[in-house]
């Protein structure tokens, strides 16, 4: 339960807002951090905390693209393919990226490493093709830089996995 | 003079094929657009075309058609969409064979075929039920209802060609 585990943080979050309901976004981030994605139970927990119906919390989680509603890969790649980006080759880049990883649109690699999906505008049209990986922007991409990034992430994940295996995973 | 012309006509027809046909023994093929008894059609896969929308009944000027609809399930499927005709009846005593039902049908399920031998000995028999109207399934295919795989038939009306 978030309520027990993060009592201090929840209190701090509530302190920031005049109305408890306003804290819903911060609590959703907290739930996502804890469970990896916004679970059905997390919605119910948050609803109980802010005094509303779970449906309303689920609605907010569904509206914003930064909340995941199902388990995703360790690296969550969101590629903007809106019109301005597409004009700069983002859709072609997206196709190639999918091919490179061998997955479908919105799919996750079998090793659980990457989830790739196309999204609406990320407000970096002048630096397209671009993508957002776990809320960090990577801009002016082409397949060469992309392959380098993938290799880098794979290596990082390997380090993390090894560290986890010896029992002291660095905090993410 | 006229008498001779008259006899000549008679004489001429004596050597021609008679126009009369011996109906019960012989039959003339109906014209392509002849409107006879209705038939409820099936798709090639054997599922019924009728979706029980009742538009034929609404279009019918003689109020001869009665339709009641129900919902398909994958366990018991009649038509590809969500809805099928649970009851489909046409009162042939009322029907005027105008073909409006055919025009109104959104899935081309009802067609006025060439069957014209309609006779009944009581009024109740004049009401053709769905079982009587429905075409048999194509050869070798199972009829309806039948069990289908979940997730195959998910549209409310089966996909049709672009009407544009």
């Amino acid at each position: 339960m978030l309520k027990d585990k993060y009592a201090d943080r929840i209190e701090k979050i509530f302190a920031k807002y005049a109305d408890k309901r306003s804290a819903v976004m911060s609590l959703l981030y907290l739930a996502q951090e804890e469970y990896g994605y916004v679970t059905e139970d997390a919605c119910a927990e948050i609803a109980a905390l802010i005094g509303t119906d779970p449906t309303q919390v689920r609605s907010i989680a569904g509206f914003y693209t930064m909340f995941r509603e199902e388990p995703k890969g360790r690296y969550w790649l969101q590629v903007c393919t809106d019109l301005p980006c597409a004009l700069r080759g983002a859709d072609k880049f997206y196709e190639e990226l999918l091919q490179e990883l061998g997955i479908e649109d919105g799919g996750t690699t079998p090793d659980g490493m990457f989830t790739v999906e196309h999204v609406m505008c990320l407000a970096a049209c002048d630096r397209a093709p671009m993508l957002q990986c776990n809320f960090h922007y990577h801009e002016h991409l082409d397949m060469d830089t992309m392959r380098a990034l993938i290799a880098q992430w794979r290596a990082e994940a390997g380090v993390l996995a090894e560290a986890a295996a010896v029992g002291d995973a660095p905090a993410e | 003079m006229n008498v001779i012309r008259g006899f000549a006509t008679t004489l001429k027809y004596l050597f021609q094929q008679p126009a009369t046909i011996q109906y019960p023994d012989e039959e003339r093929p109906p014209r392509e657009r002849y409107k006879g008894r209705h038939a409820l059609k099936r798709y090639d896969n054997g599922l019924e075309k009728c979706i029980g929308c009742s538009l034929c009944a609404a279009a019918c000027p003689a109020d001869a058609i009665w339709v009641e609809a129900a919902e398909n399930t994958d366990e018991e499927r009649y038509s590809p969409g969500e809805r099928y005709a649970k009851t489909y009846e046409i009162n042939m005593l009322r029907c005027i064979f105008c073909g409006y039902c055919e025009d109104a049908c959104p899935t081309e399920a009802i067609v006025l075929e060439h069957e014209h031998r309609l006779s009944f000995t009581n009024r109740r028999d004049a009401i053709y039920t769905k079982a009587e109207l429905l075409d048999p399934p194509p050869a070798g295919l199972e009829g309806t209802p039948r069990q289908t795989e979940p997730g195959v038939y998910t549209r409310s009306i089966p996909e049709m060609k672009n009407p544009a």
């Binding site: 919605c43 569904g62 | 998910t154 672009n162």
Partner: protein, 826 residues
């Protein structure tokens, strides 16, 4: 009063109230229909669908002089907006000019419709809404003939999503107007619907348990402007043009919701007319355009296979089917022998005509024992004195007004009043909820009062000194009988009357007392001289012959005992039940759907219902059965129609003077008109054909002098050692045959249970979900224990009519003992 301003719509000046919504003003005052999808006059405008775009302009005034600037031809100059504006989010004000027919506006409408249809599946032939669909209608009227979008590019979403067991969602058909979401949030307060995702994929979701958890879910299917929401009950039941809407009145509860029964022939029922669905019928004085799910889905009892179809009489101790004549003969014989020792008990669905026939029969045999069921109600005289004034509308209560709810769980007992009380609170009225336990209305209350058992009278007696109530511009008091004995209920009603009189609220419009009676025609019974107290007297000492009409008297131990004590029992009933099992003659009667009649709701509005379906079996209307019985006792033969019964009733009962069927059939003008025939606001509510009913004035309205009668609370029930006070509650969804016949509702009807406070449960050793045995007054019930922290300590809250078996209907001291589970949990 609001001031009137002049606005010009399409060049014509109209006088409209200042600040009114432009769409409403155009519709009501100018007869101009600005097309809409998302706007609904019962909810706040949101401007989501953009269908109501109009060209808006204002007259130009000279800044220096304030004079109107004029064109050379003398007409005022108008500065038109650069773009179109949404009519639904605009309120009218002086000097406004509106154009609704320009090419620009028409093009905007075409474009909006083309856009809405770009993802619409166009499956109108199978859609339940097809034929009464605002999207269809407005597309025909304003839409483009063709679409530039490729048909094959339509976005496909799930078509069969159950939102709970009552409502299905078709995600493709949804046009994202949010009417359902807003209804649940603004009108009901159960915000269990919401939007998920965004853009084209925006869709309605619910995650409540059970899904779409509310008593009002069916209304969303009415207001849905497309076929996205459909009811499980009606799904594919009929095409709208095949239905005949017969005006009727809900037989469930005291509100008297105006409804229309959509009738159609049905092959499975043997080719007879059946009720395919129930839709609301607009009556702004009663239920506006809302009905509860109980009313909407609780109609299946009318054609239930369990209905009594033939008369029964006791032969050699066994009830056997007999001809109606023989049954009547046996009943008449018993009546003749009994002389004037005859008692009459009428139940909650008994119509005014039936009560009147009973009254005539009673007069003929010389009996004055006119009883009303249930036997737990106090005297209704306070309601006749200071009952809510004629013409009052709960929808008009707002800032400065007060609504007081005492001893009633309005959501369970009268759901429509729950909505109206909640919305009055939303508009700023002070809502005070007093009860011995927490109820859902507490959420919206400005103040909640919690009293102990027997404390209701004390609270209400002291309420006159409460400033909120005393100084309220208008005051409406709802009085129920939850947790009250019959005497206490009577005293509480009197205390409410005292409050209204001392605070000077009695007799004024939008003020007064609303008794939350248990039945659809409890008020009518009181009006015709039937009393709950008379029933109690009959239960004490049973008359020789007891005539019971539509009342399951055997549902209480005292009632069952009285039936045994009476020498002869004549039961007129819809269903075989515990009462008919004890009867000597059982006569089948017709339900509200099979006959004409009138119900009087708890706001004293007499309303007509009409014959919709054919009779079941040999059943007759109760008034006719009673008339036939009377004929055998030497009375005139029964009147030929319900209209003639009502005519006689109106002539002999002063309160009902002038209430003939033609007078009751007159429909008051509804503003705004939302019913189907005007069809403008979209949705399936029927127009008020068939009459909106007539209210008889309370005594206070006739300026009669009213006096305060001091009240004293009767002794409350006390639990002895090891006992709890078992308090019966009324729940909306119960297992009474009139509701349980609707199989579609079974998932929502709880298992028989009793709610216990955690400390009581711990003391008694009852666990949550475990079985307990309740015993009181010689009766016992086996139910599930629910440990509920909101239950008051020392009380066991027992919803009525869930468990089979007789049990007292008043608070009673009794034992609650856990039952050892016979079967091991596996």
């Amino acid at each position: 009063m609001t001031t009137t301003v002049t606005i010009h719509i399409d060049g014509v000046p109209y006088a409209v109230p200042d600040g009114m919504n432009l769409v409403d003003a155009a519709r009501i005052y100018a007869g101009v229909e600005i097309p809409i999808f998302c706007y609904h006059p019962k909810m706040k405008p949101v401007g989501m669908c953009r269908m109501c775009l109009v060209d808006l302009g204002f007259e130009v005034r000279d800044r220096a002089t304030g004079e109107l600037a004029l064109n050379p031809d003398g007409t005022p100059q108008v500065r038109w907006g650069r773009k179109l504006e949404t009519g639904c989010t605009t309120t009218v004000r002086a000097g406004m000019y509106v154009r609704t027919r320009t090419e620009q506006v028409q093009e905007a409408r075409r474009d909006v419709l083309e856009f809405l249809l770009s993802s619409h599946p166009l499956d109108c032939p199978v859609c339940d809404k097809g034929g009464e669909c605002p999207l269809q209608n407005l597309t025909m009227r304003h839409g483009p003939g063709t679409s530039r979008m490729a048909y094959d590019d339509k976005l496909h979403l799930d078509k069969h999503v159950p939102l709970g067991d009552l409502i299905y969602l078709d995600r493709e058909r949804c046009i994202q107007c949010a009417r359902c979401v807003r209804f649940q949030d603004e009108v009901v307060g159960d915000d269990v619907l919401a939007f998920h995702e965004r853009g084209r994929r925006l869709q309605i979701i619910t995650t409540s348990t059970p899904g779409f958890d509310t008593y009002f879910s069916g209304n969303t299917t009415d207001i849905c402007p497309v076929g996205a929401l459909t009811t499980a009950d009606f799904r594919f039941g009929a095409r709208p043009w095949e239905l005949t809407n017969v005006p009727s009145i809900s037989p469930h509860g005291p509100v008297g919701e105006n409804i229309a029964l959509s009738m159609r022939l049905d092959r499975d029922s043997g080719g007879v007319q059946v009720i395919k669905r129930v839709i609301p019928r607009q009556n702004e004085d009663v239920n506006e355009i809302w009905i509860s799910d109980k009313t909407r889905f609780g109609h299946h009892f009318t054609l239930s296979p369990d209905r009594l179809r033939e008369a029964l009489a006791r032969k050699r101790g066994e009830l056997t089917p007999v001809a109606l004549d023989d049954a009547l003969k046996a009943a008449a014989k018993a009546l003749k022998e009994a002389g004037n020792s005859v008692g009459f008990i009428g139940g909650p669905m008994t119509s005014n005509e039936d009560f009147f026939a009973l009254r005539e029969l009673a007069a003929h045999v010389g009996s004055r024992k006119l009883g009303l069921w249930p036997a737990t109600l106090g005297d209704a005289a306070p309601a006749a004195e200071v009952g809510i004034a004629s013409g009052s509308r709960l929808t008009e209560l707002g800032k400065g007004d007060a609504v007081l709810v005492v001893a009633s769980d309005l959501e369970e007992e009268a759901p429509i009043w729950f909505l109206q009380a909640k919305q009055a609170a939303d508009r700023g009225a002070a809502l005070i909820v007093a009860n011995l336990r927490e109820t859902k209305l507490d959420r919206y209350a400005s103040r909640t009062v919690r009293y102990g058992l027997g404390g209701a009278v004390g609270f209400l007696d002291g309420a006159a000194s409460d400033e909120t109530l005393a100084q309220a511009a208008n005051l409406v008091v709802f009085v129920g009988n939850e947790g009250l004995g019959a005497d206490e209920h009577g005293v509480l009603l009197r205390a409410a009357a005292n409050l209204l009189i001392t605070t000077g609220h009695a007799g004024r419009r939008n003020n007064g007392l609303i008794p939350v009676w248990p039945g659809a025609n409890t008020q009518g019974g009181f009006d015709l001289g039937f009393e709950s107290a008379a029933t109690r007297a009959m239960l004490q000492s049973a008359p020789d012959v007891l005539i019971v009409v539509g009342a399951d008297v055997a549902e209480t131990p005292a009632g069952a005992a009285a039936l045994d004590a009476a020498k002869f029992v004549i039961a007129l009933s819809l269903f075989p039940d515990a009462t008919t099992a004890k009867a000597d003659v059982v006569l089948p009667i017709q339900s509200f759907a099979e006959r004409d009649g009138t119900f009087t709701n708890a706001m004293r509005r007499v309303q007509r219902f009409y014959t919709a379906q054919g009779p079941v079996g040999e059943s007759l209307p109760a008034w006719q059965v009673i008339g036939l019985l009377g004929q055998r006792l030497g009375m005139d033969r029964p009147r030929r129609s319900a209209a003639l019964v009502m005519k006689a009733l109106a002539e002999s009962v002063k309160l009902y003077a002038g209430m003939s069927y033609p007078a009751l059939a007159e429909a008051a003008v509804q503003t705004p008109p939302i019913g189907i025939s005007p069809g403008f606001y979209g949705g399936t509510a029927a127009a008020p054909t068939g009459g909106t009913g007539l209210q008889w004035p309370s005594k206070a309205e006739s300026r009669a002098k009213l006096s305060v009668t001091p009240v004293e609370a009767p002794q409350a029930v006390h639990a002895g050692a090891g006992e709890l006070v078992i308090v019966p509650l009324r729940r909306l969804y119960d297992r009474a045959p009139e509701f349980f016949a609707s199989a579609v509702m079974h998932g929502r009807i709880p298992q028989p249970f009793v709610a216990l406070h955690p400390s009581d449960a711990a003391r008694l050793g009852a666990v949550d979900g475990g079985r307990v045995k309740l015993s009181a007054g010689g009766a016992s019930l086996d139910v599930t224990a629910v440990v509920d922290a909101t239950a008051p300590e020392g009380l066991a809250l027992l919803p009525q009519r869930l468990a089979p078996g007789a049990f007292p209907q008043e608070p009673v001291a009794g034992r609650v003992e856990p039952v050892a589970e016979a079967v091991a949990a596996d």
